[in-house]
């Protein structure tokens, strides 16, 4: 697999404030790459640099081996965080217009638009104006506008925010479809479960610096397992006194046991089996949410 979108040591300063400090990442063909970070960490600035809206002070960005240029504009699709479409223009007209601006011919744009409209169950909005649609539907139209010209590189800033669960699933499916067709997708969100589901590789930014980067599974492996989920048929006592256990919450329906050492898992299970029937025992992998809070949140304190 080749990396289509490559950022090398990209740096951006606004005055004396550094917005992005040396970000390096690569997005392969057919990959969804997660770009995470707290508000103001530099995600949007990074994305804007990728889009050519602003130019990096240092470092380079290449698109399929080429630097930014007019032909790159045509292969990039962008869904901004505050999505925008013309409020008073018909959905079909403006999306075809945007596709034409990216170098697609009208007939093909119309075909693609119809395909996506059908996929999103939104055929009836074809001739409606954007201001007549609900917020969620406007968002779907924004997504279509970003992908209608079949971009090879797709940048999604908070693609799923403000959508109901049904629509989130629809959009997720669409993103996966694009990935399977070979698009390189740079994806930013605050919803860690989406990242876990969609992304292989992530970069976590914190105050303009990269704090974590790499394969999600490897990142998780690097973090200690600190929780045990235990479900039993009757109450279990004495869990707190096992060495390595730092806290116990919950009831027999589900104890959440915090441990400082993974070695405490075996004594916990033995104790539980001695007192009751064990229905479920799991040494939990840290969630991305926890990892995120650890790597970003702790530094904030």
């Amino acid at each position: 697999m080749t990396e289509r979108l490559i950022l090398q040591n990209v740096m951006k300063r606004y005055g004396d404030k550094t917005a992005v400090n040396g970000v390096t990442l690569g997005v392969q063909e057919g990959e969804i790459y997660g770009l995470l970070g707290a508000n103001g960490a530099g995600k949007t600035t990074t994305m804007r640099m990728v889009l050519g809206l602003i130019y990096p002070d240092e470092g380079s960005i290449t698109y399929g081996g080429r630097p930014y240029g007019g032909d790159v504009q045509r292969m990039v699709g962008y869904l901004p965080e505050e999505r925008g479409l013309y409020p008073k223009v018909k959905v079909s007209e403006q999306i075809i217009y945007l596709a034409k601006l990216r170098g697609m011919d009208g007939a093909e744009a119309e075909k693609n638009l119809k395909y996506w409209m059908n996929k999103f169950d939104a055929d009836e909005y074809y001739d409606k104006r954007i201001e007549e649609l609900s917020k969620g539907n406007q968002q779907k139209m924004g997504f279509i506008a970003a992908v209608v010209h079949r971009p090879q590189i797709l940048i999604l800033d908070e693609a799923f925010s403000g959508l109901d669960p049904v629509n989130v699933e629809l959009l997720k499916l669409a993103v996966k479809e694009l990935r399977d067709e070979g698009a390189s997708i740079l994806f930013s969100t605050h919803r860690m479960e989406h990242v876990e589901e969609l992304c292989h590789n992530i970069t976590i930014l914190d105050r303009s610096n990269t704090v974590l980067q790499g394969d999600i599974r490897e990142i998780k492996r690097g973090f200690p397992r600190e929780q045990i989920l235990l479900k039993t048929s009757a109450a279990v006592t004495g869990l707190e006194s096992i060495p390595g256990v730092t806290g116990v919450e919950g009831d027999p329906e589900g104890y959440l046991i915090r441990i400082s050492d993974e070695a405490a898992a075996v004594p916990v299970l033995t104790l539980a089996m001695g007192q009751s029937e064990v229905r479920h025992f799991e040494v939990k992998e840290p969630t991305l949410n926890q990892i995120f809070i650890r790597s970003v949140g702790e530094r904030h304190e």
Binding site: Q73, G84, E93, K100
Partner: protein, 437 residues
């Protein structure tokens, strides 16, 4: 180039279909139609009274000689539509009023002899009153009556010392004709005879129309462009647009698209005027104004159009730049103020100097790019100008379009990324540096 066409097409199509545009155009067309028909409509109303002739009573009150002179004078006026009816002086005004109404008169003239002065002084000319329903004299009646009375007065004072010709000469006003140098030299200094047409009203009208047209299209379309850009920015469509097309393409596409809309609007109004003037009953009215369209000064028109188009682009680019630094439409009015003032200045300098097209102010402002589109037209049409002056002014205008086009593109590129409050010039410059634009 292809994408420029796409932007132009989209801008044009969407603007043309907006309600505001359709309504404005139709309203303007309607107003023009009414305006052109006004003389005809007025005639229609006048025509209702007595088949065109004004019947006016005249009460001599002893001064029958004066009354006779007035009648004689009026009878000799060509196209006279005043008809006099002698009325008997009943002594009191109430009876006269009744009599006038009974005979369906528009009004009557009451000649009141002044009381004889002390012995030896000359008798003074009697006072004349026009008595009517409304208590006012219609303008067309006054125009005829005034000289009639003056003539009668002259006759009264001179008491036959002058001949009729002398009196006629006395009462006609002196003609003061204005002729330019080259015309006098053409006719060998024969300016005074006034036989060669010294001043073409068509020149004046062309210049006036071009200036007004320029002012209105610069203002209207300029504001249209600025608000288009601002609304694109506030609806955040801008972020997608500038990642698709270069800002320069986008800006020029917008400017040209709106320009075409302006042209179309002018076209619609032009056709409206033409159709209205073609109507048979209006043709007579226009003939009355003594306009000859074959006198249309072609050179003024061509230069005018060149300056019009270039001037339009200069203003439109700046309006686009201003639109891009404003985030909300509410702030737009304030931001475009300097540009509005500038175009207003260009318009008024031109309009107020129409009769004085060679003044120093006009000479200077015809080289300033922002005012040259109006003042240069005035100088070409109504003043004295050398060809090199036109050329220099045109080159200056072109250069400034390139300069401000370049500057506007930079401002546009920066402005569309800046949200929040309207940035100051300093902030804008800083942002340009930060964004490396």
């Amino acid at each position: 180039m292809n994408r420029l066409g796409t932007v132009i097409g989209f801008t044009f199509k969407n603007k043309v279909r907006t309600k505001s545009f359709v309504i404005t155009t139709l309203l303007l067309a309607l107003l023009i139609t009414i305006g052109i028909h006004l003389p005809f409509i007025i005639q229609l109303f006048i025509g209702d009274d007595e088949g065109g002739a004004n019947k006016i009573g005249i009460v001599a009150d002893g001064s029958t000689e004066i009354a006779q002179q007035i009648e004689d004078y009026i009878a000799e006026v060509p196209d006279n539509n005043i008809e006099f009816v002698r009325m008997e002086d009943g002594g009191d005004t109430a009876a006269l009023n009744e009599q006038a109404q009974a005979q369906d008169l528009a009004g009557y003239l009451l000649i009141v002899s002044a009381p004889p002065g002390p012995e030896g002084t000359q008798e003074t000319f009697p006072q004349v009153q026009y008595v009517s329903d409304s208590g006012s004299i219609p303008a067309d009646v006054q125009i005829v009556l005034q000289p009639a009375l003056e003539s009668a007065k002259t006759r009264f004072i001179t008491e036959g010392a002058l001949t009729d010709e002398q009196i006629a000469q006395l009462t006609t006003p002196v003609q003061l004709n204005a002729v330019s140098y080259d015309k006098t030299s053409d006719t060998g200094g024969g300016a005074a005879d006034g036989s060669d047409d010294p001043f073409s009203p068509m020149d004046f009208i062309t210049v006036y129309v071009l200036m007004t047209l320029f002012f209105f299209s610069a203002m209207l379309t300029g504001n249209m462009i600025a608000s288009e850009v601002t609304s694109e920015k506030s609806s955040r469509v801008m972020e997608i647009l500038i990642t698709s097309v270069s800002p320069l393409t986008q800006m020029f596409g917008k400017v040209i698209g709106v320009f075409l809309i302006g042209l179309m609007q002018i076209g619609v109004l032009g056709v409206t005027i033409a159709i209205n003037l073609m109507l048979p009953y209006n043709r007579d009215v226009m003939a009355g104004f003594d306009l000859d369209f074959s006198q249309l000064p072609v050179d003024v028109l061509i230069y005018g159009l060149i300056f019009y188009v270039l001037g339009y682009f200069l203003y439109a680019l700046l309006f686009a730049a201003v639109g891009s630094i404003v985030s909300r439409t509410e702030d737009l009015g304030q931001a475009v103020m300097p540009l509005s003032m500038l175009s207003l200045a260009a318009f008024y300098i031109g309009i107020f100097s129409l009769n004085n097209a060679d003044s120093l102010l006009m000479k200077i402002s015809s080289f300033v790019p922002f005012t040259s589109p109006t003042t240069m037209i005035a100088r070409i049409g109504l003043g004295e100008i050398a060809f090199w002056e036109i050329a220099v002014s045109l080159i200056l205008l072109l250069l400034s379009i390139f300069f401000f086009g370049w500057l506007s593109a930079k401002i546009y590129r920066t402005g569309v990324l800046m949200y929040g409050k309207r940035p100051s010039l300093k902030e804008l410059r800083k942002a340009m540096k930060a964004y490396k634009i």
